[in-house]
């Protein structure tokens, strides 16, 4: 089951630089939320704060609340490694581990953590994860081949399989289709619709048609100018954002005549 995320008055800093200012939003369980906005407006930065991945960058910090079912992810006793185990992430460029086979890539979350797993359980996990990412039929005969030998779209689905193999509650996707052709994009969009039943999904996209196709809610981020912080301008049901948005900037952006 997916979980719910509440974000309240979140400020995100890189060192002294305020990158994203005062974001509050509610992400419903088992929904797809799309984050749209121009480049550099802080969508990806915001997404990475949801599983504390932004902390990988030195000097990055946040103020405010990010709650998963009422638990603040930034409480001092929260372990960021455990947070990431429960909130999976798929990146812009497919990044399977080049030294691992397709099978080992799916099992990476288990194996890299030095957990023991019986062969039967491993086989079942590989099959269910790859089936969940719509990749099983294409790779079931070559599970021992390197993951980097797959096509870009297959690699991205392998990364999704790898992410869901650790059984997270929430799946974050940072422009998962921007490096893919339209057919692979379609495959991933279909997959997102299926994954919605089991996970809460937050997706960053530059493609507004994609946001309109896959998401239930859309949040529009914008930036006032270079050096200014990004802000959440508007968030609503996707059809509303694309037909009758409340803010002029949103209308300009979704209709393609921005700035």
């Amino acid at each position: 089951m997916g979980q719910r995320i509440d974000v309240e008055h979140l400020n995100i800093y890189y060192g002294d630089f305020l990158a994203v200012q005062d974001v509050s939003m509610v992400i419903e369980p088992n929904s797809v939320t799309a984050l749209i906005g121009p480049s550099g407006c802080g969508k990806s930065t915001f997404l990475r704060t949801l599983n504390r991945m932004h902390e990988v960058i030195p000097g990055a910090r946040v103020e405010g609340l990010v709650e998963m079912d009422g638990v603040n992810l930034y409480d001092p006793d929260i372990d960021p490694v455990a947070v990431r185990r429960n909130i999976g992430m798929v990146f812009q460029r497919p990044n399977p581990f080049p030294t691992m086979s397709i099978r080992d890539n799916v099992l990476a979350g288990v194996k890299l953590n030095n957990k023991r797993i019986s062969k039967g359980d491993a086989d079942a996990l590989v099959e269910s994860s790859l089936a969940g990412a719509n990749l099983w039929n294409e790779v079931k005969d070559r599970l021992d081949k390197p993951g980097s030998g797959l096509s870009g779209g297959q690699q991205q689905r392998l990364c999704i399989a790898r992410a869901i193999a650790v059984r997270p509650q929430i799946l974050l996707m940072d422009e998962p289709c921007s490096a893919l052709d339209p057919i692979s994009t379609l495959a991933i969009e279909d997959l997102i619709q299926e994954l919605k039943n089991d996970y809460t999904i937050v997706i960053v996209t530059h493609n507004m048609q994609q946001a309109a196709r896959v998401s239930d809610k859309t949040a529009f981020f914008n930036i006032a100018g270079t050096g200014k912080p990004g802000r959440l301008i508007e968030m609503n049901d996707t059809p509303t954002i694309f037909s009758t948005p409340a803010v002029k900037a949103t209308e300009d952006y979704v209709s393609g005549r921005f700035g």
Binding site: M53, N95, T99, A108, G109, L112, G149, R162, V166
Partner: protein
């Protein structure tokens, strides 16, 4: 809507303006529809227009590059040839005695003696030097790449750079001094030579491993973090595993850098004629020192009636040892290539 119309109008008037300003014959943008299409002959002239100056430069640079390559290769080939032609005689005619005898009880112009004790010393000293420097060097590199920020990392980098420039004889004197303080003056041990070589090896291991670790794409680290893998396991199982081929190369380069060292080993491990496998006790011979010693002894003054006296036996032994040393280094490099191939990420 008015917004958009305004924009269009401005754009159009801009275009019109530009069209008026552009002089005849200048390269024109899409705003000019007047230009006639080029004939095939004109197009051919445009596309084939030879630039004699560029061609000449190309030719000169090509010649320079090839000349530089030949110039670099010539001494290398000549060196290999000299070593093989001088050393092969002793190595092959005395095979395998040359490799399983030491110099114990060998004197004058005797047609005997081998390099086993020198091989043993070189192998043990280099092995222990590697065992000391690889963990230190690699952990330093991991610190610099994965953890190092601020003044400590900068200081580390600075001192590693300084260490790279330490003359090998100074490293040898340093190690000799340290071991003399601990074990009494004038002590000669294989492990003291290993310590001296480590001083030379560590900066090489740090710098080259650092380069290799920086080559690992950040995306792989992030992929691992996003799966809920801790930083240490990410370094161990993703970063090191991905760069293992490069790390092996850097270790082998560091070994090749020190295996031919003479001065620091002679100071610290001394000179010996008999076999000693134990680096923790007694003097040890090594191949470079052996070569130096044999060469130093020079021509043997043989009496004319002496039949079993070879006047240039010392030179023959020196060249034989030199050939062996070169062969060991080549073997290490070949091994490195194999390891690189085994561990390299596979695509198919």
């Amino acid at each position: 809507m008015t917004d958009v119309l305004d924009n269009t109008a401005v754009f159009t008037s801009d275009g019109l303006l530009a069209q008026g300003v552009v002089p005849e014959g200048a390269p024109l943008g899409p705003s000019s529809g007047k230009k006639n299409p080029l004939s095939a002959a004109e197009m051919r002239r445009l596309l084939t227009a030879a630039d004699p100056r560029r061609k000449r430069t190309d030719l000169i640079m090509r010649a320079l590059v090839i000349a530089a390559f030949v110039l670099a290769m010539a001494p290398l080939v000549s060196l290999l040839w000299t070593v093989i032609s001088h050393g092969a005689n002793r190595v092959f005619n005395r095979f395998p005695e040359f490799f399983h005898q030491s110099m114990r009880g060998v004197f004058g112009g005797m047609d005997a003696g081998g390099i086993l004790h020198a091989i043993a010393g070189t192998v043990m000293i280099t092995l222990f030097a590697t065992l000391i420097s690889v963990p230190i060097g690699m952990l330093t590199a991991i610190y610099l790449v994965e953890y190092g920020r601020g003044p400590l990392a900068r200081a580390t980098t600075f001192f590693v750079d300084v260490m790279t420039g330490i003359p090998s004889i100074v490293a040898g004197l340093f190690s000799f001094a340290v071991f003399s303080i601990v074990f009494g003056p004038g002590v000669r041990l294989g492990i003291a030579a290993s310590a001296a070589l480590s001083v030379l090896m560590i900066p090489v291991v740090v710098r080259s491993s650092e380069e290799m670790l920086r080559l690992v794409p950040n995306e792989l680290r992030e992929a691992s973090y996003a799966l809920g893998v801790s930083k240490w396991l990410t370094i161990l199982k993703v970063v090191l595993r991905t760069s293992v081929a490069g790390l092996t190369t850097s270790v082998l380069l560091a070994i090749a850098r020190v295996i031919g060292e003479t001065a620091p080993i002679m100071i610290t491990a001394g000179v010996a004629d008999s076999l000693n496998w134990n680096p923790f006790s007694g003097r040890m011979m090594s191949l470079p020192v052996y070569i130096y010693r044999q060469y130093q002894m020079g021509v043997v003054p043989c009496r004319p009636d002496q039949v079993d006296c070879l006047a240039d036996i010392n030179f023959m032994r020196a060249w034989g040892a030199a050939l062996t040393l070169v062969f060991i280094i080549m073997l290490l490099n070949a091994l490195g290539r194999l390891v690189t191939r085994w561990f390299a990420p596979k695509l198919k």
